[in-house]
Symmetry: C2
Subunit: 789 residues, 2 copies
């Protein structure tokens, strides 16, 4: 540890960052990769259930959420709501005094005068309700109540089977004793249009309730303990006498399972931290501290020292900072907050559901909530590979078991079902990244089988769910023709997926496979059209099955006329006005963005764009004209592309500018959906001065934001990045050494990182000739491997 002291890194995490605006960050407590994520819900339309507006009433705290996602919401199951007064299955209240910190959520429900606190374990959540005694006039009546609702979930729409809507299937409830109840909620649909999944619950209170009601189909039944599943919504209201609470808080623990109610019950007691039975089930501090400890263990795998931080830095971890902070301290605090919150976001999803998979035997790791790999393969997977390789191995093995049992690798998955695909079959990149970085404990022959299934067997009617849509075209024409939706980004993504298959095949000595796929890795060139726009040339454009370029798009019948739009520039955008959101040539971006997204052969796009200077101009046009979208994953690598023409200084300037403008330690401090930590891990890598090209074993070197970064690689190994003379002004790298040996290129291999000890960078206000060489050896790897000069 830095200075030999333990830092309390968890105090830097601010779960509110990214919770406002488009970030869609979940704000409640969660363990690392936590299955259970309890939190407030005040909007069924919000992906995290939460809208940062205290005048919009909270209608419950549900136990499962996703973080940072777009599209149709998922989960929001098993809603609990404390309230007072008459029985009310629609209880809701405006709120105030919200306090959010890592592992802890607190809020005051104005209408009912109830203070609520929540923490959680991996599989069960813990609630503390403090009722206002004066609410109860007689002190005898049972007016302190808690509702447990199996009929609430996010994304409900009135039209059955609405696209991307979650849909109700069934639920039940059963009061088991004067302090416990169980039941389930069965839901289908959501963003992935998935099959039904069932969330079982087992709820236990630390006080006896004096009476209860259950309901189904909106009808309350006093004292009736069971409501079976009639395909209608059920729930229970349990009621407490004020005297029974004896001045205590009321505590409630909610065990959750995807398997069954007995497993939900068993999940009330978490191992190994809470293995001493019923008493500790309600130990709020113990549950909270256990969560904090597990996060501390993950967060401490990377330590940073900010500029100007010396012994003061230790204070940064304490509350003293809150009280007497100088500007300097605030900057350090903000930097650390943003970094550790980014690491935290990266480890919220996928969720570890090992032991909780209802679809096959739980004898292997199971992870769900890949939402979506299209987002997370770029930075999240490479980050875990560095700091939590055991997790990345388990995740890849889970992907392979999904292939074995469900037939295809997921590109996205939630609620135990694959779906949806956006472009490529990017689990292949995750597998290749693990393979080229030598992760052990993965059956790569099985992985190859799974990848080849993606690449060779069309998913047919399920092409929104998994596999490669338009594969019949791709494998016969060498590109996906315009008759398929998303033909542009599908083609270029499949080409990169094929490059990844080739990499693994080569390593496995499957040379026939290697030869075929390394050839197919060039398929993006089949859509490269030599047109000019804004002074640059060469863009990915749509083609029909006969090989003709598509110059106009059929928008269907509008006002009785066959409507068309021109599609002849890389800024042409056919969705969502001419065709549906998912039906355009490119998904969520323009050709200007996608035409840079060839991660395995930047040298070729440079050559095709007219060489070094033309390429720099093309990149500058992208950024200066705001064709670049920081919030969109296909552009994640783009600011780093100056490295490939020997101008890492230009990359660093762009990255600094992008971060300064878009990332802040505030609720609205994330640009666009965080996408399960994709955005946050992009930020974290760049702040350390590294950037991975997922699927390939190297990292681009950028200007770091910290004076010192220590990445603990496990087995007592660590990699240290020092930035000498770093300051706001001195942000260009002018010299570098790796373990004392001068390094005059802007990238290091994964092997160098794993074996290296110290990357020492010298920073200055003006760039020099460092890493400007453009020979094959100097430049970062490219399939074409062309010297520029």
């Amino acid at each position: 540890m830095l200075n030999g002291q333990t830092l309390s890194l968890t105090s830097y995490v601010n779960p509110l960052i990214g919770s406002k605006g488009d970030g869609h960050i979940f704000i409640g407590p969660s363990c690392p990769f936590g299955m259970v994520k309890p939190g407030p819900d005040n909007s069924v339309a919000a992906n995290s259930g939460y809208v940062a507006d205290s005048t919009i009433p909270i209608y419950g705290f549900s136990q499962l959420h996703v973080s940072g996602t777009g599209g149709g919401p998922k989960y929001g199951n098993i809603s609990v709501m404390p309230f007072t007064g008459k029985d009310d299955i629609y209880a809701r209240s405006t709120w105030s005094q919200q306090k959010v910190s890592l592992g802890l959520y607190a809020v005051y429900l104005n209408k009912y005068q109830i203070h609520t606190e929540i923490t959680t374990s991996q599989h069960s959540s813990l609630y503390k309700f403090i009722f206002n005694k004066s609410t109860n006039k007689t002190n005898e009546e049972s007016t302190f109540k808690v509702k447990i609702d199996g009929g609430i979930f996010l994304g409900e729409k009135p039209i059955p089977n609405s696209r991307e809507a979650q849909q109700f299937v069934g639920s039940s409830v059963q009061v088991l004793s004067d302090s416990s109840l169980q039941g389930y909620s069965r839901i289908r649909g959501g963003w992935n249009n998935g099959r039904a999944y069932t969330v079982y619950y087992y709820v236990i209170f630390d006080h006896k309730f004096s009476s209860f009601s259950t309901w189904h189909a909106e009808q309350l039944y006093n004292g009736i303990s069971e409501q079976k599943d009639n395909s209608d919504k059920t729930g229970a209201i349990v009621k407490f006498k004020a005297n029974d609470l004896l001045g205590d808080s009321l505590k409630m623990r909610v065990g959750i399972s995807f398997i069954g109610e007995l497993n939900a019950k068993s999940n009330l007691i978490e191992k190994p931290n809470l293995n001493d039975g019923v008493n500790s089930i309600f130990d709020f501090q113990k549950t909270y501290k256990s969560l904090i400890a597990s996060w501390q263990s993950y967060l401490s795998r990377i330590e940073i020292q900010c500029v100007g931080e010396t012994s003061k830095s230790e204070n940064a971890a304490t509350n003293e900072l809150e009280i007497k902070k100088t500007d300097e301290l605030q900057r350090v605090y903000d930097q650390k907050t943003m970094f550790y919150t980014a690491l935290y976001h990266t480890m919220l999803m996928p969720t570890d559901r090992t032991g909780e998979n209802p679809n096959w035997e739980n004898t292997t790791p199971y992870y769900d909530d890949f939402y979506a790999i299209w987002d997370t393969y770029r930075c999240s997977s490479p980050l875990l590979t560095l700091i939590a390789p055991d997790r990345e191995v388990a995740i890849v093995n889970a992907l392979l078991q999904i292939y074995v049992h469900d037939g295809y690798l997921p590109d996205a998955r939630s609620g135990n079902d694959n779906g949806r695909t956006q472009g490529g079959t990017n689990a292949e990149i995750v597998i290749a990244d693990a393979f080229v970085k030598h992760l052990k404990g993965i059956n790569y022959k099985l992985a190859m089988e799974a990848m080849l299934k993606d690449a060779e067997v069309p998913p047919g009617g399920n092409e929104e769910k998994e596999g490669r849509g338009g594969l019949t075209d791709y494998n016969s024409l060498g590109y996906v023709s315009h008759k398929f939706v998303r033909s542009g980004n599908r083609t270029i993504e499949y080409a990169y997926d094929d490059y990844c298959i080739a990499s693994v095949a080569k390593g496995l000595k499957m040379m026939d496979v290697y030869k075929r796929y390394i050839r197919q890795a060039n398929n993006w060139q089949n859509l490269w059209r030599n047109i000019s726009d804004h002074g640059s040339r060469g863009f990915i454009m749509p083609r029909d099955a006969d090989g003709k370029w598509v110059d106009s798009i059929d928008c269907g019948i509008v006002n009785g006329r066959h409507s068309k739009m021109a599609y002849n520039t890389p800024l042409s955008k056919d969705w969502p006005t001419c065709v549906c959101w998912w039906c355009g040539v490119f998904y969520e971006a323009s050709s200007w963005e996608y035409s840079f997204s060839i991660p395995h052969d930047v040298a070729a796009i440079i050559a095709k764009s007219g060489g070094k200077q033309a390429f720099i101009k093309k990149l500058n046009t992208l950024f200066d004209n705001h064709y670049y979208n920081v919030g969109n994953e296909p552009s994640f690598l783009t600011p780093d592309l100056y490295h490939f023409v020997g101008r890492p200084d230009l990359s660093s300037s762009r990255i600094l500018e992008i971060i300064k403008k878009n990332f802040h330690p505030t609720s609205d401090g994330l640009p666009g959906n965080d996408d399960s930590g994709a955005m946050s891990s992009w930020f974290a890598f760049h702040q350390m001065g590294l950037y991975p090209n997922a699927g390939q074993p190297y990292y681009l070197i950028n200007s770091p934001a910290y004076a010192l970064t220590i990445i603990h690689l496990g087995k007592s190994k660590s990699f240290i990045i020092k930035a000498k003379n770093l300051s706001e002004k001195n942000h260009f790298i002018v010299a570098a050494t790796l373990d004392g040996v001068p390094l005059n290129k802007s990238w290091i291999s994964h092997e160098e990182l794993m074996n290296g000890k110290i990357l020492e960078l010298t920073m200055a206000a003006v760039p020099n000739s460092w890493a400007t060489g453009t020979s094959k050896q100097d430049l970062p790897p490219s399939l074409s491997n062309i010297s520029l000069e």
Copy 2:
């Protein structure tokens, strides 16, 4: 009713018919379309769980079975086993004194000296165990035991994920009181390679048990009431003191649900027959009588009077027949037994799971266990359309909801998941059959959407599960080329499916769809090869994608050499020796059989085969050389094809010969798998003297086996078939009238049947010119509609 008296038709049903050999008939009690089918299991490899060999020990009575299926077994869940002596989770016993009648199964377990009786309701089974008091020496020990086992199921194989094997996922058990317990068993796989399904149970006894044990992972725990799901097998042993049984039998009721344990509990009480609470739960007689009554209601929809049967016939329904039967009585009894048992088989599957579907809201009918429609569309569906149209409407609606929620119509389905396809997408024929026969209450526009999905969207990687495999070829080449498995039968089946789509499209006035599909209905001709064999010419043969006929099949590498087999005659058979069972050109039959299977255009195959005489010769060659297989569904229509050349007498002779040789009122009395009643409904139709061409609104008229048949069509309408002068010798039709009007053709339309009252046939020992005309008007309908002479 005949003679104005109520017949007890249920006494004719003999559930043992077809239970020995290949029939695979389930022998336990079942309601019509019964979800719960309790019965003995003494072989995990048997499709019905049962092998007719009393030296093979019974290891339990499980609650769910299928009937008559081939391929990998499904179900066999929630096994119960009474036993005595030490706790034994592997209790099993040889058996004797088996008695099987409709709704009742009884057996004596030799090892434990326990007499067991079983009856059932739609969703719960009822057991009666009579222990031998002398077994218990002390009369104090708890040695009378019942095991409830969540870990037993059919088709288990040691290799995980074995093809067609059922595989264990998880289970739990929970003893709830001194007389009740609940739990579930979660299984995946089976013949359809389906996803996991969960069978919940709730068991209640009429006596208190004195103690119990539960187990998981083969380890017993005395007095431990819960075993949660750890992905291992669980169960319970409950134990009774002999004194507590007080000379009574021990009764046990097992509620089953696919939804949850509370629903399993609720299913203990069936409505409306057993709605008076716990007391009647154990009323064995009431449960049995309720089952009998529901079967009587279905069986009585067809009444038959055998030759020679007058007032004696009434006795046939009673036990008197058992005591003093003459030859004549025996013949009548056998005829009725075979007929009503056939009707019974037809209504064992699909199973009515309305209210028990865990995958979407239970607001519409839900049927499962289509195993497979490929088998049942030919006769079972048309039979239900006549005698239980409400059921057929519900079944079609269930198919449509499966399309809506799972994306494709099933060709087969069990355990709530589609799979597998064998050839065509034959739900289309079921839909067309309903449409052309004017069944009301079906959304045919939705049905058209579902059919077009089959016909236009390839199922890709899921082509064994649903949709049309090889569709890309079919829709571009006009046939499925040899690179796809089962290319021969797929092509001709798709052509008939397309004919059915065209029929519905025409009725819906969707003329563009009609034109396309009526053209595609000729696609079978693209595989018609003009080769000769055994004096006949023209057969369906495989072709490659370039249009070349395939003359040899690649069998892969054998002993290091690339092995090939010639494939140049319609008797060539590539499976299972050269390629796998499912990988041949034709599924389960030869080209000799399939080349007659063009149900919509027999006139065209007659023409292509060389005309009337050549066709008769070709048919004779098929039958005389035993190329015809009575047990195989693609040949179901073939014996009737002589009708299409004006020789119904030859059809009738063949049919009589086939039935005489293959159908018997004995345990081994069915030729081949009954296939969910497919074989039995083929028999039943032909015995009545009618045969449907499913998907088309007419019936071929054959020699009936009964002097009189009354088909109750509902709404007080009935259709009567009289066979004047019928005797064993007089089996040719020589004259016919329909409602008194002479009928000189060998078929009647569905409309004629529905509006008609009496079809009177005059029988004689020698055929005459009846229905021998070969003009377009005389012959049964064909797409080509060619006059023969």
